[in-house]
Amino acid sequence: MSSNISSASSRDLLLRGGRIVDPSQGLDAIGDVLMRGGLIEACGGSLTAPDGADVIDVSGLVVAPGLIDVHVHLREPGREDVETVATGAHAAAAGGFTAVCAMPNTRPVTDNQATVGFVKRQGEAAGFARVYPYGAISVSQKGETLAELGEMVGAGAVAFSDDGRPVESAHLMRTALEYARAFNVPVAEHCEDMSLARGGSMNEGLMSAKLGLKGIPAEAEEIYVIRDILLARRTGGHIHLCHLSTKGSVELVRWGKERGVNVTAEVCSHHLSLTEQAVDGYNTNAKMNPPLRTETDIEALKEGLADGTIDLLVTDHAPHHYDEKEREFADAPNGIVGLETALGVNCTYLLHPGVLSMSQMIDAMSCKPARVFHLPGGTLARGSIGDVSVFDPSRVWTVDAARFKSKGRNTPYGGHELTGQARMTIVGGRVVYRAET
């Protein structure tokens, strides 16, 4: 895949003296990593630099298989004013990600092989993080007719979702799960019962009652979580549940996994670090769907992530224009940018407090995304693609949205101090991002 990225690098690259953490090989040791021809040539121990190789000293830093975010919105085609594939992929690289999966809710919707191919080519042309397109489950995301999944897989789609618009028809979801089995790709669901959630703009609870905003109850998510788990059990298809936000969802996924259902799940960094309190004062940069929930939910999500019930960490990177967020809360769009803060947030809220070990965090951000979505990478094993993230888990920095590579500035972390930052991102053996200071 992405052959022109892989072949772009001809010079050998040696990363010297970093802490190599590669859960795919059970590795956590100081050593060198050598890349040649865009692939991992050797990993671990003290290596000799071949003649003409670039040698970069990464001592004091963590060297991990490239981070992969399977849930981003890059807005192209359609809303190039808020993000393009190129700016999004640049933001990804700046955040330590070597690959992202782009959701299909573009304009026009990415529901056909031509658009899938377009997104993929835009990613290759940009030359930052790899961009893997999602295809829509249904034509125009309308939830009526199954889109041409097979052709989209042929054009490079790695998964399917009507993200942002839950598949209301259980029959259509069942059909998608069955049909997608032929291509061995996950069907990803944005779990939300719209009859409960419609008009809601934050978590239903005390804060929504105080602010006079219509709430979205946890059950709006959980009803779809269990429905889709049951459909996956019936069909044997692979259901991937997007951005879980409630305690009940974690319990239901655990129930499904215990019964051997082919279900995987993801959680966003913001749902692990912020509660509905962040909405107070009608902060539209704390408005997203699913909404920020409560401490109880955060505890359950952390537990689910640590015990493997939840497989992946994602961002749900969703850039919006400043003017769109600068308005009455109920009218502002859902979503926040996350690519350039996720690693810092995860280090600050998961790694350093001991919720996850370094291996667990890298597993959830790299190895498992590759495995669950059948993507290359997620490992530093010899012969793998040369996608590597180098980061400093201890570096303290203050989030300044004005410095983002993303066009989006809509972050709830502006001015927050985070501990942990990407320092260098390597895709196909080529350095695509290096921190300036």
Binding site: L206, K210, G212, P217, Y282, E328, F329, A330, D331
Partner: protein, 319 residues
Amino acid sequence: MAGSLGKDLLGLADLSADQIRLVLDTAVPFREISERQIKKVPTLRGMTIVNLFFEPSTRTRISFEFAEKRLSADTVNVAVAGSSVSKGETLVDTARNLEAMKIDMVVVRHPASGAARFLAERIESNVINAGDGTHEHPTQGLLDLLTLRDKFGDLTGKRICICGDVLHSRVARSNIWGLTKLGAEVGVCGPRSLLPNAIGEMGVTVFDRIEDAIQWADALNILRLQLERMQGGYIPSLREYNRVFGVTRARLDAAPRDLLILHPGPMNRGVEIDSDVADGPHSVILNQVTNGVAVRMAVLYLLAGGRPELAEAAKRGAP
């Protein structure tokens, strides 16, 4: 300019008990102005106030306008049809345009919760929330408090039950915060489908039966039932609402004491309240209207930087 209330009045959740008492105490001398032959003092002469209404309102807008005119402010009414979104111009642009015309205060009514705060954070003028979505309606809360205080004196330990559609009511929220801060016990009564799910965490007692609420309360504040709630599927019919939750003479006759009856208006007679209750001897519904002007005069005066101890002098006509 910032008076003892701060720059803006956005909600009673933001005010201390002392600040609430200050407004009520200030309103008392102002009430007398409306009793005069010449109902005007020069207190706010030269100030420009814009009444910016994004939602239709008769009572609140007129009440504010009387309050402003009796204090000699220059007022402009701006009624925006529909929401700012449908109009095309954003709320922030509307605000900045008004400010560019050098105004002193904005009284804003808007269908979106948080709209008054949004405005207040973006312009230098004082902002008074005249109702934002289902969030707060602080001057209504204050006039309800004044009306209750007129009858009860101290509100400590008094039991006030808010009846009806608490879920969608900005009046209910302002009442809950204001009454709680002044030491009253607050109850709510209505179908559970019209109460916030988290109502139990708001420090109030919940009554499922209006009969029980009437047994418990010293006063009922009966909310208007928005007729569109039936289309929204929250209640089966207005007829049933009246039969199950309506405040009727017969139900009040069973009470162990006389209950004060408040209603923020406009009333749906025969739905949430029967006419013989609305017009009965213990109804203070028209006192609320009178107090509305006085409370709004007090808020305008205090936000304009008026010193509370000079309210008496202001009333006498000293500039």
